[in-house]
């Protein structure tokens, strides 16, 4: 069985180290916050101008002036700070954010990512995604390994318009954990009920099985 959205999020939370500042994108990446253990001190950044984002508010604490980048009402934790969008992206572009987690439609064997437009469809815009992939020190992608027809989304070369070039180091898909190296994809872990060979078969881009490749513990 491929991993659920929650299992992908939980596995990514293992990558979050104590003391990290992290920006989580919309979708599966948002769920990562639910699995960060309380013994790790982690500051969540929201690119609309908040460092130290907390959970959703209770009904009596809802504040129209306090939202996250997904426009959801949220809270600010002790130690939080508010700032302008220019300051926010100075943080992002300047390499002050340790880790960014975001979703993708395609990633290729060189680590380029496409996640903002499909030609012919209404384009909603890239928001902060291009800045995040260009600036964060480490970018992890949470994604589905294949589309509904079973075609690989881990490509030799992205077919959709790019969000960033050669910027992705690690992917956690529903099939496994894949690192992006100078020599293409390297499979590090595979979903518990799958085999390494099945993941390789489902991947279009150049992929090798790491010598220490193992089944993921979920």
């Amino acid at each position: 069985m491929p991993l659920t959205r929650e299992q992908i999020a939980k596995r990514i939370s293992d990558e979050v180290q104590d003391g990290y500042t992290v920006n989580l994108g919309i979708g599966i990446p948002t769920l990562v916050a639910n699995y960060i253990p309380s013994n790790k001190t982690v500051m969540l950044q929201s690119e609309n101008g908040l460092l130290g984002m907390g959970p959703f508010p209770t009904e009596d604490k809802i504040d129209a002036d306090l939202i996250n980048a997904g426009k959801q009402t949220i809270t600010a934790l002790p130690g939080a700070s508010f700032f302008s969008s220019a300051d926010s992206f100075a943080m992002i572009r300047g390499g002050h954010i340790d880790l960014t987690v975001l979703g993708a439609m395609e990633v290729d064997e060189e680590g380029s990512i496409a996640n903002w437009m499909v030609p012919g469809k209404m384009i909603k815009g890239m928001g902060g995604a291009m800045d995040l992939v260009a600036g964060a020190r480490n970018v992890i992608v949470a994604m589905q390994h294949t589309d509904k027809e079973g075609n690989s989304k881990l490509r030799k070369k992205c077919t959709l318009p790019l969000t960033g070039v050669k910027c992705i180091k690690k992917i956690v898909s529903d099939f496994g954990v894949i690192e992006v190296t100078d020599d293409g994809f390297v499979l590090k872990e595979y979903a518990p009920d799958m085999t390494a060979e099945q993941v390789v078969k489902a991947t279009e881009g150049k992929i090798k099985i790491s010598p220490d490749c193992k089944a993921m513990s979920v």
Partner: protein, 233 residues
């Protein structure tokens, strides 16, 4: 000197707005948008305008109000996902749209207000956004040249302001407002509380009053919430 910046309402503060002008509008989603200015701009009847704003509002609120009346000719934004009117007008070719990455947009506005004509950024290198733009290498990495933005008018929303135009924003309603405040030929600020000069702590001021030409107290703010998310406990 301070008192001549104060206007009675949005309609009076928007004197001089005209068709074919460029307007910079603060806010992120519906958070921290200059609601009264947007309504007054709609009621002014200006046409063929260009709006620079991170988002385009929703169908019946924010800049969506100016889309309904087809007053906007061109939008410059980073994300316009929440607006069906926008989608319809864009797909039919009525509306021009230029996408700009969010951080680049923030910096272009900051640069515009700070007298910087253009700057190099790593954002968007190798993507559609880089097409037609100058590329230069610094320290072995590629960057693209992006231009500063200024507008004929800038509209911002703040929490508190004094009669000289010093502004304090509240929480994430700050967002694009501080940069936009610096980048208008005429910047109009609407505030929830308008106080006397001397009442704001100078250490707490986010936007110094020099950037603000006109200020008024907002009325009937809706402060609509786009995604109302709550936790049980």
């Amino acid at each position: 000197m301070a008192s001549n910046k104060v206007y009675a309402n949005a309609k009076e503060a928007l004197a001089g707005v005209d068709s074919n002008m460029t307007y910079l509008v603060g806010g992120f989603g519906l958070c921290g948008i200059p609601e009264n200015c947007i309504t007054a701009l709609r009621d002014s009847g200006v046409k063929n305008i260009t709006c620079v704003s991170n988002n385009a509002g929703v169908d019946d609120f924010g800049l969506g109000l100016l889309l309904q009346t087809r007053q906007i000719k061109k939008m410059l934004s980073s994300y316009v996902g929440e607006n069906a009117t926008f989608e319809k007008q864009f797909m039919s070719g009525e509306l021009e749209l230029e996408f700009c990455p969010q951080g680049t947009l923030a910096e272009r506005l900051r640069a515009g207000g700070a007298g910087i004509p253009a700057f190099y950024t790593p954002t968007g290198v190798g993507t559609k956004i880089a097409e037609g733009k100058e590329v230069r290498e610094f320290n072995g990495r590629q960057f693209i040249l992006e231009k500063g933005i200024t507008g004929d008018f800038a509209f911002v929303k703040a929490w508190k302001g004094d009669k000289f135009g010093n502004l304090i924003y509240r929480k994430t309603a700050r967002n694009f407002n501080p940069m936009i405040a610096t980048a208008g030929k005429i910047t109009v600020a609407e505030v929830e509380e308008l106080v006397e000069v001397g009442e704001l702590d100078p250490d707490q001021v986010h936007t110094p009053g020099v950037y603000i030409q006109r200020i008024f107290k907002s009325t009937n703010l809706e402060k609509r919430i786009e995604q109302r998310t709550v936790s049980k406990k």
